[in-house]
Each structure stands twice: as C-alpha cells, then as structure tokens.
C-alpha cells in the first residue's frame, strides 16, 4: 500500500566549515511525536542537522537522528560539549545534559532563524499546535498548546493525504489549484471533516477543491488558537506544516499578516533552539570551572 503521508528524511552539514576550528560545539535533539531532528552548532552558527521520522522507541530515535547528523562530519558525540533534549520525547534522550520544553526551544530557535523582531511563533507539529509569544531575546512571554485534538495538526493533514491518495508534500500546492475558494469543511474534528470530504468526493468535487476546503478549515482552526494568546508582529511559522503553502497562505490571509521566511528549515526550529540553549549552558559550565 502506498504511504502518502510519508515524507522524505534528510540531513545537511556545512562542508565549508571545519568544526575543529570551533570552541563551543553544542547540539539540540528534538524528539517529536512524528518527526525528530538533531541540530549541531559550532560557535553559535548552524553546522549540521538531520530530520527523520520518530520510531516507536524514543531513546533509539534520538540516537539515530543524532548519529545521522554527525555522519560524514568526522564529529563524534564525545566532541559535543553540551546536548539539550527537547520535544515530546525530551526526557528520553539518553545522551542529553538537560531537557528543556519545546515551547522554550521553539521561541529561542525562531529568534535565531527569523531575527529578534519575532514576537509570535506558531509551531504546527505532527501531533500538536503551539502558539508562542516571545521577547527580543527569544524568551517566552505567553504560550498555548493544543495536543488534545488532531484538528490543526500535521496528523490531520496526513489523514487527508491518505484519503485522497496524494503525497503529503504535494498537498499544499494542489490545494491552491482552484478557481475559487470552496467553503471550508468542519474545522473542529478530523473524523467529521473526513466524512464530509468523502461526501464531497462522491458529489464529484476534484481533489484540489477538497484539499482547499480542508486547508482553509485547518488554517481557521489554528487562527482560533492564535487568538487565544494574541498575535503580535513579527509573526513566524515553524514545524512541518510551515512547508504547506496551502495552509500557510490561507492562514496569512485570515490574520492579515505575512509570516516571516527564513533560509533555515522551519522544521528544525526546536532542535536549533535546543542547541542555542546548550551553547549558553556550556558557556556557563566552562566559566564555572
């Protein structure tokens, strides 16, 4: 059976940089419910990262994603001065020196990726959705998190990708190929949205139109969570759904604010924040000795 929800795993490292010239080598490992990322920084600059699907065993997933980030760099785990574990499985990162919540890490990571003017970060993860407000240093000033309900999460989008037999990576683009916006399906429950979509397909709606109706339902759902905490500019989106242009563009239209773009992959914000925390903690540790 084809697995339409399955996205490609990937890694990257900066071949131009020799980590041996660096002083502070730190890492953040974000073990999410669906995907895991490991991010390595050298002296406060992004050096390497990897992004994989989380397996059923969190410690094993943490190890695998870290090993993959290290691959081909000549670095070993022992060379890394401080590791912060974050995400849903943060307490299950066997080699971490400290666990920090993904809320704090996403704020810190977004501050690095999008600059200190970021005040609101929306993180749309695989099984949750978070709204984080932060100050110019990336410190959290308010947050709300929804991990109780699949509506507004990546998991909900996977259900639709499977239903329509469309690769999860193509969903966003395809949803924009409509002449006009259809009314959204139910935004409160993925199960009910799915039965509505099934009925619409039977009525002869093209897949693009069904996806448009779901993407706007999802955008609307997320906006209600944003409103719970309040939106302040600048605004940025992190997490896997940040890559879904169908949801992002509709969300931007609804709130009337464009989300900041970054050259850095939006899915590594949590791990990146972890690596930044690790850097401060390592400095503190070194100066204490």
């Amino acid at each position: 059976m084809a697995e339409y929800w399955r996205w490609k795993e990937y890694r990257w490292h900066d071949a131009e940089v020799d980590w041996r010239d660096g002083e502070l080598i730190t890492a953040g490992v974000d073990v999410g419910s669906v995907s895991s990322q490991a991010v390595i920084m050298v002296d406060g600059e992004l050096y390497a990262f990897s992004n994989m699907r989380t397996g059923s065993d969190s410690p094993e997933s943490a190890k695998k994603v870290m090993d993959w980030a290290l691959e081909g760099t000549g670095l070993t785990l022992d060379d890394i001065g401080f590791v912060v574990g974050t995400g849903y499985g943060r307490v299950n990162v066997p080699f971490s020196n400290k666990a920090i919540t993904e809320i704090a890490c996403h704020a810190r990571g977004a501050n690095f990726m999008y600059g200190p003017s970021v005040r609101t970060v929306l993180d749309m993860g695989g099984q949750d959705c978070k709204v984080i407000r932060c100050d110019e240093r990336g410190k959290v000033s308010a947050f709300a998190m929804n991990d109780k309900c699949a509506a507004g999460t990546g998991r909900g989008m996977e259900v639709f990708a499977d239903l329509l037999a469309i690769s999860i990576e193509d969903v966003g683009e395809l949803s924009l190929q409509v002449d006009e916006e259809p009314p959204p399906v139910s935004c409160t429950c993925v199960v009910f949205a799915k039965s509505e979509a099934t009925a619409l397909l039977r009525e002869g709606w093209p897949k693009s139109q069904v996806l448009a109706a779901y993407c706007s339902a999802m955008a609307h759902r997320v906006v209600t969570l944003l409103e719970q905490v309040g939106i302040e500019k600048e605004f940025a989106i992190t997490g896997g759904i940040a890559k879904n242009i169908g949801v992002v563009s509709r969300l931007e239209d609804e709130i009337g604010i464009k989300a900041l773009r970054s050259k850095i992959d939006a899915q590594i914000a949590g791990g990146l924040g972890g690596a930044l925390f690790a850097q401060s903690l390592l400095k503190k540790k070194l100066s204490a000795n």
Partner: protein
C-alpha cells in the same frame, strides 16, 4: 390516531409510525448522499411495515440534526425533546436519558411528563460519539458489531491516553504492536467513550432511572462500561435507535 416521526440523523434516518401511542411500524435507511431521498424511502418502508397508507397519517413531526430537510413533516422538534418524550412514554420512572448517536452524545434530565429540565451535549468531536467506536473497530480490524461482545471478555482494564479519535487510532495500533489482547483494547475504547458520556451525565445531575438510547446503545461493551462508570443500572429499550423518531411521532399526536 395515526402519526409518524422522522429522525434525520447524521448517519441514518429512522421513521416510526404510531397508532394510539404504540409503535406500529418502523424503518431505517443510511442517510448517504441524498438524505431527503433516503427519508422518503424510510417513510414508505415504515408505512409498509405498519400496513398503513400515506393518507391515513394525520401528522408528521421531524427531529434529528437534519430535521429541517425532512419530507412530509409539518413541524420539527429538537433531538433532546424527542428523546425525552420517547423514553418517558416507555419508561415512566425514567428521569435521565442518555442518547449516543453516530456523531453526537447527549445527557438529558427530564420530568415524568418528558419535559426537559437540563441537557448537555457532546457535538463536533468524534471522541464522544459512535464515530469513535467505529474508528476504533477499523483500527482493531474487528467488525463494529463484534466490538461490544469482545470487550466483555476483557480481564484487564488498560487506560487509553488519547482524547481524540485520530490519536486514539494510532494508540490502538501501538497497543496491537505491543501484543495487547484485542479484548482489553476494546474495553479501553468503551471505557474511554463512557467516561466522556458520564461527564455529560454528571453535568446535568443524573438520577435514576437512566435510559440509554441511540444506535450506540446496541453495543453491549459500551453499556457495560457506562454502568460501571455511572455506578448504576442502565435500561436499554428494544429499539434504542428508534426512540427519537418514536418521540417525534408522539409529539405529532399530542399536537
């Protein structure tokens, strides 16, 4: 006097024909693509079942989520009102009605006359309705009819952590991978939905007798979980899914 009640549910349409307070004919149809057409068919089938012609029916009242689209109906009443009316007519001692359908769950507290005193709803979320057990039966690869009897054979109460039907599906799959007996998972599924329904019942301040109606009342596993969570006996009528339509037909007669 002959009247009819049409219950335009989210998933199925039920029609009941009543003569002098007694149910004399009934029919059920899947709502499907065209719910009005399905209602027409169910209406014809119920009349046929009762051996009555269209002209003999004096008045028709509709209920259910899609009640405004019901054919033949001259008036409509809420699901809460029709459920309470149907139940107290069958069980005069009933004071609490729990109604669990495909997409909604409700708890209703009512008087001996069927007047609604208080009600609480679980809507727009599959976790507190029949859609939850259906999704779980698919994840377990067990027929929905078999899910209830299966859970009665469970010897271990295991918790279900997910509150959402979509997340619960993944949880069921992981439990299966961990070789958890299907019986125990089935019971966990029923305990989970029962706990949500009980919180509705607590909200209205339930008192006995408690009568359970709606399609999910056929699920013996759910009934068992509900009785354990409520710590009281729950009465299930013979045709639990028809009680709303029956109540509507009674309301048509009382007009």
């Amino acid at each position: 006097m002959i009247t009819a009640g049409i219950d335009m549910g989210a998933k199925t349409i039920k029609v009941v024909v009543v003569r002098d307070g007694a149910m004399v004919g009934k029919a059920i149809m899947v709502a499907g693509f065209d719910s009005r057409e399905a209602a027409e068919q169910a209406y014809a089938a119920a009349l046929d079942d009762a051996g009555i012609t269209k002209d003999e029916v004096e008045y028709v009242v509709a209920t259910g989520a899609g009640r405004s689209h019901a054919p033949h109906s001259k008036r409509d009443i809420s699901d809460v009102a029709s459920g309470a009316q149907g139940v107290v007519t069958l069980y005069p001692a009933a004071r609490t009605v729990i109604d669990v359908g495909a997409e909604e769950g409700r708890a209703i507290r009512c008087t001996a006359e069927g007047k609604v005193l208080d009600f609480a709803l679980n809507e727009k979320c599959a976790a507190g309705a029949g859609a939850f057990t259906e999704a779980m039966s698919r994840a377990l690869e067990v027929d929905i009819q078999a899910l209830g009897p299966m859970s009665l054979n469970s010897e271990n109460a295991i918790p279900m952590n997910a509150q959402c039907a979509v997340f619960a599906e993944s949880e069921v799959v992981s439990l299966l991978h961990a070789k958890t007996p299907k019986e125990d998972i089935a019971r966990a599924v029923h305990d989970a939905i029962a706990s949500r329904i009980v919180s509705l019942a607590r909200k209205v301040g339930f008192e006995p007798d408690v009568v359970l109606i709606g399609g999910v009342a056929h699920n013996v596993g759910f009934v068992d979980s509900l009785e354990r969570a409520l710590e009281c006996k729950v009465i299930v009528p013979d045709d639990p899914e028809y009680i709303g339509a029956y109540g509507a037909a009674l309301a048509a007669a009382a007009r």
